[in-house]
């Protein structure tokens, strides 16, 4: 699974970084870093993060991010 965060939407609420700390990482108080290629054992955590993001900034799926570069 792949994951993309719309960093223009992201408000730094950090819900994702609590729920899937190996995929989403907060640097300082604001900046979000993440791993676009989700390891299999993190799949469930990422789905939880997608649901928890208050502004729905995270997209996950096999196709997420494809064709965006």
């Amino acid at each position: 699974m792949r994951v993309v965060v719309d960093l223009n939407r992201c408000q730094g609420y950090a819900q994702c970084a609590f729920l899937a700390p190996r995929v989403f990482e907060l640097h300082g108080e604001e900046a979000l870093l993440y791993t676009p290629a989700v390891p299999n054992d993190q799949r469930e955590r990422v789905l939880q993060a997608v649901a928890a993001c208050p502004v729905q900034a995270i997209t996950a799926g096999e196709q997420a991010g494809a064709g965006e570069l």
Partner: protein, 408 residues
């Protein structure tokens, strides 16, 4: 009926099972002045704006009738950060967050997954083959206290005592107007003090001999914001224990109730457990455990939807009404476990938005998943169930279900 009695009707116990028509009435007016001078706000945009407005205080000492409100409380006792404004609120919340979550302690909540699952499985196993189950007493009630005690490092043998105090404190928040509140307030105050003293003692022990739990780390914190004083440590630990107790019990219970009422949603969740995180968000919108925030106060006269709310007046933000605002959510009165664009107010919004939200989410997702798997097929035995008294922390007192005869 006149809108200046809306709050009385909302708090009336007879309306506990279904306050939503009253909220719809409130939304028609946006803002409603009450007979006692309080102001109710029920529309999504207005509530959100007020929660982000620095002129709106969470400290009831800014109320015109503060003296009356605080009677019996020790003015020198440290207040917890839920009841303070920035910058004090920010300093205390930041200090607590350093040991609770990212960026400094990113793995803490994630590391609780196994513990939470074990506690939930244990409780679910305890149901055995029982035909009749009370979801509250048999499952939802013991879970959040056990989890928060694990996180804080409260020893297992003390958990029942801590649970008792937490219940007494929450009972004191219940201000049903038809009841004499003084006695309950006194009991609650005593319980809060006893819990504070207990946690203070425990923290002192941990300062000498840290055990790696949240309390040990808070007691020994030496970050850029300094260290919590003994008093601040007591009030913060007490807040964490109380804020996450009945709220989470009610979210789990409301979840079972709502799924019992929506067999098609229940079936979908049983078929596709990956839907659970989104279903929990929808529950936080549809049946939020915190129905309204009763302790905001404007620090200046504020215009809200064409009405002036004067400085010092009680301002009550009805989150559960904002969550059903048709201007924000399509088909707001429908429970849709896969709802998109669900920026609900279940955890509040703005600087005071729920500190424990990631933990509450995880607990509820795990609890409901484990419970549904263990229950097999089931149905509600009482609908509506008997509710707790509180109109703020609204939820069933008991939720009897019977195995067999329902979905899955």
């Amino acid at each position: 009926m006149s809108t200046d009695t809306l709050f009385r009707r909302i708090t009336d116990y007879a309306n506990r099972p279904d306050p939503y028509p009253l909220y719809a009435e409130l939304r028609e007016h946006g803002v409603a002045r009450q007979e006692d001078g309080a102001f109710l706000v029920g529309t999504y945009d207005e509530i959100t704006a007020l929660l982000h407005d620095p002129r709106v205080s969470s400290d009831v000492r800014n109320r015109d009738d503060a003296e009356e409100l605080l009677a019996g409380e020790d003015p020198a006792a440290p207040r917890s950060f839920i009841a303070l404004d920035d910058p004090e609120h920010d300093r205390l919340r930041r200090l607590a967050m350093r040991r609770f979550g990212p960026p400094h302690t990113p793995g803490r909540i994630d590391a609780l997954r196994q513990d939470i699952t074990a506690i939930a499985e244990d409780l679910a196993r305890g149901l055995g083959e029982k035909q009749h189950i009370d979801i509250v007493d048999d499952f939802a009630f013991p879970l959040p206290v056990a989890v928060i005690c694990r996180l804080l490092g409260v020893p297992g043998e003390d958990v029942p005592q801590v649970h008792e105090w937490a219940d007494a404190v929450v009972a004191g928040l219940d201000f049903s107007p038809e009841e004499e509140p003084a006695e309950r307030r006194r009991t609650a105050l005593q319980a809060r003090q006893a819990m504070g003293v207990y946690l203070g003692e425990l923290a002192r022990t941990r300062r000498e001999r840290p055990t790696g739990d949240l309390l040990s780390q808070l007691a020994n914190e030496d970050g850029p914001d300094g260290r919590l004083t003994d008093g601040e440590l007591m009030s913060t630990a007490t807040l964490l224990l109380i804020a996450g107790h009945e709220t989470t019990v009610n979210l789990i219970t409301n979840g079972v109730l709502t799924l019992g009422r929506h067999p098609e949603a229940l079936q979908r969740l049983c078929d596709d457990p990956e839907l659970m995180p989104r279903a929990v968000e929808e529950l936080l919108r549809f049946e939020p455990p915190v129905q309204f925030l009763p302790q905001r106060t404007p620090l200046a006269d504020i215009e809200v939807a064409g009405v002036t709310v004067p400085k010092g007046a009680p301002l009550i933000l009805v989150l559960a009404s904002g969550n059903r605002d048709p201007l924000r959510f399509p088909e707001p009165d429908r429970f849709r476990p896969d709802r998109e664009d669900n920026q609900h107010l279940g955890f509040g919004s703005g600087v005071h938005s729920c500190f424990g939200a990631p933990l509450a989410r995880l607990e509820t997702q795990i609890a409901l998943t484990v419970l549904l798997r263990r229950l097999g097929s089931w149905r509600l035995l009482a609908d509506p169930p008997e509710y707790r008294r509180s109109p703020v922390l609204r939820g069933p007192r008991h939720l009897p279900v019977e195995r067999g005869g329902g979905v899955s």
